[in-house]
């Protein structure tokens, strides 16, 4: 009732508190706040990686253009495409098409799962064939393994959490639960995971590419 009373009052400037300064629901605003704080975590880790690299002029270049960089480019394609399918899921849900929403979310999950499988196989090659661990590697700069696995590991954890999150949202929508805003909020998280990779891919892989 109080909302009705306040609805009649003049809203005033958004910076004076307004009625809904961001004109958004609290779930979405909460996700934005999480994304901003998580961006700072990833920024700190990317800076740690970069500074470790600057302090060690003999930093290794372990990624051959073929196959490692081509492999990580395919991973980037998977994530970018899964972002497009996620946008389509949000689009379908705002138009009330639940079946299409579930299909688009499943397509998004397929892209994310492909990313995780490719990433894990790359990790396994580094660990088992090249002998890289977080504490040592054959190229003499132990920090490489530490920063590489911490950064890409945290990102992969985010992708796996995203897959679980999307699975929960998809099954809920299939059962007639959840609203368009819930799909949009899960989409925000998924795009953020894609966004972080847009910095990890060039700074970690492309800057350490070895041709020929």
């Amino acid at each position: 009732m109080s909302t009705h009373a306040s609805a009649v009052e003049p809203a005033g400037s958004v910076w004076e508190g307004g009625q809904s300064p961001y004109a958004t629901n609290s779930k979405k605003f909460g996700m934005w706040l999480f994304i901003i704080s998580d961006s700072l975590t990833f920024s700190a880790m990317l800076f740690a990686y970069t500074y470790s690299r600057v302090t060690n002029p003999d930093w290794p270049k372990p990624f051959d253009f073929s196959p490692a960089v081509i492999f990580s480019t395919i991973m980037t394609f998977c994530l970018l495409s899964s972002s497009l399918t996620m946008v389509m899921a949000v689009h379908a849900m705002t138009h009330g098409n639940r079946k299409a929403t579930v299909r688009w979310i499943l397509a998004t999950m397929a892209g994310g799962a492909a990313f995780v499988v490719l990433h894990l196989s790359e990790w396994m090659k580094l660990i088992n064939v090249e002998g890289v661990t977080p504490f040592k590697n054959p190229w003499g700069v132990p920090l490489f393994g530490g920063t590489f696995f911490a950064l890409t590991g945290l990102h992969m954890t985010h992708v796996i959490c995203g897959l679980i999150y999307l699975a929960i949202v998809a099954q809920g929508i299939a059962r007639g639960k959840f609203k368009a805003e819930d799909v949009e909020v899960s989409g925000l998280y998924w795009h953020f995971v894609d966004l972080v990779w847009m910095f990890i891919f060039p700074l970690v892989y492309l800057m350490s590419a070895r041709v020929g």
């Binding site: 961001y22 934005w32 901003i36 302090t55 253009f65 705002t94 925000l188 795009h191």
Partner: protein, 106 residues
């Protein structure tokens, strides 16, 4: 109740717009990979890659994350602070550059 009106106010992009953004992101990724293949000098490479990554991030935030269609107040509350904090992390760059020169010769 007012929520419904607000949701209806938000005008998202069209399928065509999303496809164009996706293609632009793929093209920029292709340029980045090409730069790596050509083995451009490190400083130019780092500048170009960071520049392209920031443009890609902006496209994702604006269109895929819908921020372009939100109120300006949301952007102003979240992003200037984030950018400022990230720039603050550059404080340690001087130390990172100095350390290799401080190591005793082997």
């Amino acid at each position: 109740m007012s929520n419904h009106a607000e949701v209806a106010e938000h005008v998202g992009g069209t399928t065509g717009t999303f496809l164009k953004v996706w293609i632009a992101l793929l093209v920029m990724t292709g340029i980045e990979v090409l730069l790596a293949y050509e083995q451009v000098p490190t400083l130019i490479m780092l500048t170009a890659l960071l520049g392209l990554s920031i443009v890609k991030a902006a496209l994702i935030i604006a269109y895929f994350m819908h921020l372009k269609f939100e109120k300006l107040s949301l952007f102003l509350t979240l992003f200037p602070m984030l950018i400022f904090c990230i720039i603050l992390m550059l404080i340690f760059l001087g130390d990172a550059v100095r350390i290799p020169n401080m190591r005793p010769p082997v």
